[in-house]
Amino acid sequence: MGKKGDENRNGPAQQHLDLSRMLAERGVTRRDFMKFCTAMSAALALPVTFAPKIARALDEVQRPTLVWLEFQDCAGNTEALLRAANPTVAEIVLDILSVDYHETIMAAAGHQAEEALAKVVREQKGKYIAVVEGSIPLKDGGVYCCVGGRTAVDIAREVCGNAFATITAGTCAAYGGIPAAAPNPTGAVGVKAAVPGATVINLPGCPLNADNLTATIVHFLVFGKLPATDSHGRPLFAYGKRIHDNCERRPHFDAGQYVEKWGDTGHRKGHCLYRMGCKGPETWHNCPSQKYNDKTGWPIGAGHGCVGCSEPQFWDTMTPFYRRLPQVPGFGIETTADKIGLGLASATALAFAAHGVISAFRHGDESEGAKED
């Protein structure tokens, strides 16, 4: 990202770019570019035969404008993007986009920067893409997050409401994420909840996988529309499969080989983390195939259970992270569902045993056969 050609500063929203020239300038070979297109078709769960199509589409691409808003966040998604695994090509593809506003990386500051944003909204209504990172607080009029004197919800309404589409980068922007965890002091919500009228595509994850962001944008550039989504607004190509069903440790799950203690033999041998509270069975994300950091690793691969970070309200519903089941409301931290269940069954047995003893010594209450009715 970062450096943009001069021609886009005042130009119209859509322009032809000579991608081949840009690639050559950056020292990227055609072969690397084709490799990138193949990787993208894989990320999009398309057949390999789509790679040339993607290449052609990217060659002839029109340039949409992109603005990146940050609200209650840690900038982790920006970090993930800046450290993207395929920096050369992915960066250039993102360079195709005219990133007119991004607080972390733009050179402009203050009113000048805000003016750039206002200009995009004014001049490219319904055409630009907004990316949002971080949750939006609604409590007390939204005062807990202000940029340039305006509340996050106010900015989001204007920017996301007028965008062609909004991509939420990370769980906070998608569903409120960690700022929305109980007791949610700022009344944080995701973009769709804050701006119900906006067209939103959710890319949750903590952080999101930059490959999925690139793939979503490539999908948009190639097909001219947004990818199909699930009921949580997440693209199916990236969130259509459950982690548990694609996990490299799944054979150990099916066999019956589990890590029972951190650092035990099973852990060292790479057995399944189910007993250690892995939330792979309730989380939808392509981490097992797409992975992070140049496809070198991902949490379960590194020996830590999945915490379900790409699911709505994960901080509240997936905890305790190192237990399979949530705590039963009203009971202590150490009380598991099974302890409660066993207690209940034993109490029942005891109560009825007592009832039985009394009944056995009680006479004169016998009857002789049921009454006919």
Partner: protein, 220 residues
Amino acid sequence: MAKPCLYEKYIWEVPVRVSHWLNFFSIIILSVTGIFIGAARTVALEPSQFVMGWVRFVHFVTAYVFSVSVLARIYWMFMGNKYAGWREFLPFLYRDGRRDMLEALKYYTFIGRKVPNPAGHNAMAGTAYLAVFLLYLVMMATGFALYAEHATGSFLHRLTGWQFVLFSNQGIRLTHHLVMWLLIGFAIHHIYSAWLMDVKERGGVMSSIFSGYKAVKAKE
């Protein structure tokens, strides 16, 4: 006064008894496999083994048997004789039923000495079975929702998906797990009450669920 004649009356029809025993065996199998699924231990030496795989397979096949049995029994509430009928499970909706409930409650709490002894279910038992049938439906709804998770967008997933909108995924799992313990608690109570009534009513409740017949006094 001459003792009224006792005769064997056909109370529990075949579908009632078949569904009762299918439920009995399914719940045992589902609980044993379910406890293993919930608190898995390392049982395999080789990754090529398939212990958890088989346990889950047995759980799911039994789950289908159980569901068909429960649905068939619900169907029979409308098609079978009056002892199988849905009114037996809702005694609190009508006056006689409420009176019978009170009597049964008095007997169970040692306040009254008159053992309830109807030909079918006593009113308290009927109410308890209503609760149990609701728990069965909860198990089926949550179970099939969890089951459908491996096939996103499938028919079953869309059929059960509303639960994930209303409750969290983990909440559904916890419910599925906790209700098992409620059913185990019910089983303890159920076997005890059947024994108690067998002894006190002397109508042969215990054998009636095998044979279908109970000893009933002829009207004078």
